[in-house]
Point group: C2
């Protein structure tokens, strides 16, 4: 059985034909690849690095199974030598990275792979596939957290509209890292230990003869998980029935915890429902809202005084709808000790191994970054650290809670200019050090000479 | 080991708490759920149904493993009765659907599930997760096919920017169904038998001392797969080197098949490269283009006369960037033989089991659809057919080639008004039959009486 989530065949064909080429030419020296974002989307004034631990697991587990080797052999596309090499191929390289949850900007490497060129090349596709998506989601979730600003809790509700099963799982992971209290995706608890939350669907109400019966059945069957969906027919009528049921349940020692609104004028309805619940003696029943929510609607509703305790954020989060991809690249920056770069129109990048230094003001707010060469020593805090040596993690995998704490501290240090939903990427200064500019010029000269 | 791609735990928590509720209330009657799109995205004048066979496989294989049951037990969220039921739960329902590759519009059911309510409810999350994404991709790929209009071949290059591993695989499947010749994703060949294609990356060129050496090594190592990437340093210089290498290789009996352009002014460069290749005696070397391609750039380039033989379509396809999700819903339309509907603001839907009749003009072009109740008999061709009875497929799974043929015929019948890239969803008439309007009114009356 081939496991699609672990298979080294989840790669582009050209990775394998290039390996064929490197082997043919006996090119086995160490290569350095860096993964970075070229330009930030207009609606992402900063990005939150996410996906590192899943990449490290992938690298540690990398191997070709018998079945995968058989398939490759049968295609007759590759030399016997290559198949032979792949049999014992493991990832033996070093990895440097921004810790997961770190805020970063264009041109700053998220991860650097230093390994024999075949290994470093082969893993490109899956590393991008894992990091790009989780970074998209962690970043959008972080913007939702900034919009909520502690006034409401946020939960991921997006698995159904996520692009496939793994996207749903990774969205739960990435949004939890960004500060969400959990997800609706059951498998995310089973596999990652992420807290799960759920309510009820309209179908549950519709399948019952009356809304009230549906509420009662649900509470009695799930006495510790009693969120009632009240908008199936008429929200205010539903709220009255929820109150009625809450009274009946109180007599049985069951507490109705929440009501959920999923349609209509949420601002108006949430205020009216809150007023009703308070008047009827249920100030503890919380109001939970879902339905096309994102950072913009969270901000708008809460700033307008909507008495909402929690949001379920689904489709727009899990698809990162306003920025569904990043302009990113995994670039060879050194081979055999010599810096490399391409010069394709509009796609020039910096050669060599890099480091990022970040400065803070006296209040601990981020002030500016400098991108430089690896061993440069500049003011500020270096962000990139080694996480793997010779194919092994240097430290045990971080827990999601540890990563979430780091992310929270990162977001606390975010300058005001990047916190607003209308901020643009130009709001934060990222400079290039003289040493890096020099390396770039030298590499360009070298390339000119080669012609 | 839990397999995330098959696990019934890839679901929302509320599905399981609702099952708890149905069981508590002893509600075991048959439910009918239909999955449909509420409104089409502005940039999708039609949709191509995709994902059915993957859903049917999921339904046939549905079962809870020991490990999954243990997890559920440990959470202490569910009654012992529920855990006991889940042990032997299989999908025993009937399924009706649009054949994969069928063109459809808002409100038309893609799939209908008729099963005991617990089964039909449980599978909601994964069915949406599988169908929404594949439909998005098949539709965008179909628009790319219309833009190319037989003038160039198209290949999926998007796995790296797809949202996770499964998205990459499903994008390869959906775009192949829509008419692409294949994908770069190796695993899609290993698992689905989809033809794979590949070129070389800039890193391969950069790792070599000279571009020419890179081309030579690549051709000698992969004599049957010789696409040379010529834009790493300077495209026209790269083209000259490709010609030079093509001459050397010809002497060894190796044919350079293609050159790839990935940056710069593609229209201008493709013309100049074509002219050079022709002048130098290589009219057979094809020009392949990649880099932020989509239906709009394909159309623009080919209409401007760019001599491009093939496109690699990546990021924008696999993320469906201009419409990364569908406004869709899986709605209870009947329970215990009684039609059901919700009345939430702005989200009213039609009750009961439905059929769609499609009319064609004398040239075989689609003329209009009517949405009606299941057993109505109207003019035109009924689109929805039964595909599963009592949990078993009625016919063997269709091959991807069969589905692709059906899609091709569907696209041939697409009226001119829907073929252009600027067409909007309003361009095609979908009517509601009197019988369906009547059922809706009756159901609304019934709901009013219940109050």
């Amino acid at each position: 059985m081939i496991d699609p989530l672990k298979s080294p065949l989840l790669t582009d064909l050209y990775q394998l034909t290039m390996l064929n080429g490197y082997l043919y030419a006996d090119m086995r020296q160490r290569a350095v690849f860096e993964f970075f974002v070229r330009t930030l989307p207009e609606t992402r004034p900063f990005l939150v690095a996410c996906g590192l631990e899943t990449c490290l697991s992938f690298l540690e587990d990398l191997r070709f199974s018998e079945e995968e080797l058989d398939y490759l052999k049968k295609t007759r596309r590759f030399s016997d030598n290559l198949i032979e090499e792949l049999k014992t191929l493991r990832f033996t390289g070093d990895v440097y990275a921004l810790p997961e949850g770190t805020i970063f900007f264009a041109d700053e490497p998220i991860i650097r792979i230093e390994a024999p060129i075949g290994e470093a090349q082969l893993v490109e596709t899956r590393l991008i596939n894992l990091i790009q998506y989780q970074t998209l989601i962690a970043t959008k979730a972080a913007r939702c957290m900034l919009a909520a600003n502690g006034r409401a809790t946020l939960t991921d509700f997006g698995v159904r509209r996520a692009h496939g099963a793994e996207a749903g799982l990774l969205a739960a992971r990435a949004s939890y890292i960004a500060g969400f209290i959990g997800t609706s995706t059951v498998l995310a608890e089973a596999l990652y230990g992420i807290p799960i939350f759920g309510t009820m669907a309209h179908s549950f109400v519709e399948a019952h003869d009356t809304e009230e019966e549906a509420f009662i059945d649900f509470c009695l069957a799930n006495p510790n998980n009693t969120t009632l969906l009240i908008d199936t027919y008429d929200t205010m009528e539903g709220a009255k029935k929820a109150v009625h049921v809450a009274r009946q349940m109180a007599e049985k020692g069951i507490r109705v915890q929440r009501v959920r609104l999923d349609s209509g004028d949420i601002l108006e309805l949430s205020k009216n429902v809150r007023r009703l619940l308070d008047q009827e003696g249920f100030p503890d029943i919380q109001i939970f809202v879902s339905g096309s929510m994102d950072e913009f609607s969270i901000h708008k509703l809460l700033d307008a005084g909507a008495p909402i305790d929690g949001f379920g954020i689904g489709t727009r989060l899990d698809t990162s709808d306003d920025a569904p991809y990043l302009e990113c690249a995994y670039k060879l920056t050194e081979y055999g000790g010599i810096p490399r770069m391409k010069k394709s129109a509009g796609k020039v990048s910096y050669p060599g191994k890099k480091q990022v230094f970040r400065s803070y003001d006296k209040n601990g707010q981020m002030k500016g970054d400098i991108l430089t060469v690896e061993n440069d020593l500049l003011e500020g805090t270096p962000l990139i650290e080694q996480v793997m040596a010779a194919g092994k993690r240097l430290l045990p995998a971080k827990t999601l809670q540890e990563i979430a704490s780091h992310t929270r501290r990162q977001l606390e240090a975010l300058p005001f200019g990047l916190r607003t939903l209308t901020a643009t990427p130009s709001a934060y200064p990222v400079g290039i050090s003289p040493a890096l500019e020099r390396l770039k010029n030298e590499t360009e000269s070298m390339l000119r000479e080669r012609k």
